[in-house]
Amino acid sequence: MTPAPGDEARALVASIGRWDGRPLTFMEVCGTHTMAAARAGLRSLLPPKVRLVSGPGCPVCVTPVGYVDHAIALAARPEITLVTFGDLVRVPGSRRDLEAPAPTLARAKARGADVRVAYSPLEALAIARAEPAREVVFLGVGFETTAPTIAAVVIAAAAEGLANVSVLGAHKTMPEAMALLAASSELTIDGFLCPGHVSIVTGPEVYAPLADRFHKPCVIAGFEPVEILRGVDALVRQAAAGRAFVENAYPGAVRAGGNPRARAVQDEVFEPCDASWRGLGVIPGSGLAMRDRFARFDAARRFDVRLPAPREPRGCRCGDVLRGAIDPTECALFGTSCTPDTPDGACMVSGEGSCAARWQNLEIGP
């Protein structure tokens, strides 16, 4: 399906298409941008000298395999009801028996574990209230947009005195990962298309170090194809002018200072910690840990689970894909053993994953 761009979209495509300087590589770091760009076939509208690569913007994809193992181990306990966003249930954990399919929460559920898919963490609260004999564990995965929602649920549980709900957290914050990629010699990034929803919470200010210290143009964009094109056009203009600053191309939703109330809720429950990202390793200060006074809501502290060392799926290059170092099609598993129906790696599972988006895009055709 080709997009049906209005006059503005056509004008933007033409404007971007006029770029004839050095090749430019821009990175989007937002799963929703990945999906929207793939659906609309946006890459095929860009000229050869403007390349848009996907970075570590899919929360499920950057969550390391050890976390999936931890979740599967919790789900195996008979007293636990595991509540999760849908994408996570099909992400493979460490495969120890090479004769058997990789373990997933979906397979655990098929074998009788109580795993429930939810759209909102509020559903975990409702289940905990309705079923006081169950230990309800929510899988808290996501970036700055999701962390405040989890924090609000923890605050509500504490206020209600709910004793049977907890969170297995793997929250991450984006600017630290972007800084790592900006400084990388593996891939020269000429600018970032910054995530719209994350920026609603953080405000545009968090990207200032990327522009100031690393001289990377940063443009916050919305999610409609025309809004993404506006973002890319703004990036090309900054690069053409040799400038690097933070530009808000999603001004109706993203305001200076972000959403201070959401951040206050988040800060009440969480504090920064080092976090492990699939493909990027441990990035200092890029995660959120539950503060000690909420320790009883931290499933990692509440339940003692022994986990063997994690093992990434053999041959899977999710890590390289997440750094933008390779295109998904360069992975030997892509489209052979690894498809959306039989994913080997997390990037093929989630609709926001680069591999799943690329697959969908190839099926649709350029």
């Binding site: 759209y119 909102s120 963490p121 929803h197 809720v265």
Partner: protein
Amino acid sequence: MRVVAIDGATARVESAGVSLSVSLALVDDVAVGDHVIVHAGFAITVLSPEEARETLAIFARLGEA
């Protein structure tokens, strides 16, 4: 999505025939008739009227496509 009713810290929001109950725990100063962006069951921001108009216009165009 457009806020059609507010009951304490919860709002009913609607968009294109879909109706949802969302928490207002993460936003200040929401009124009936405002447009909000919803994430995981929470309103995370109130859109400016201009942005709301533009988003609705995009939806309308998608509806025609």
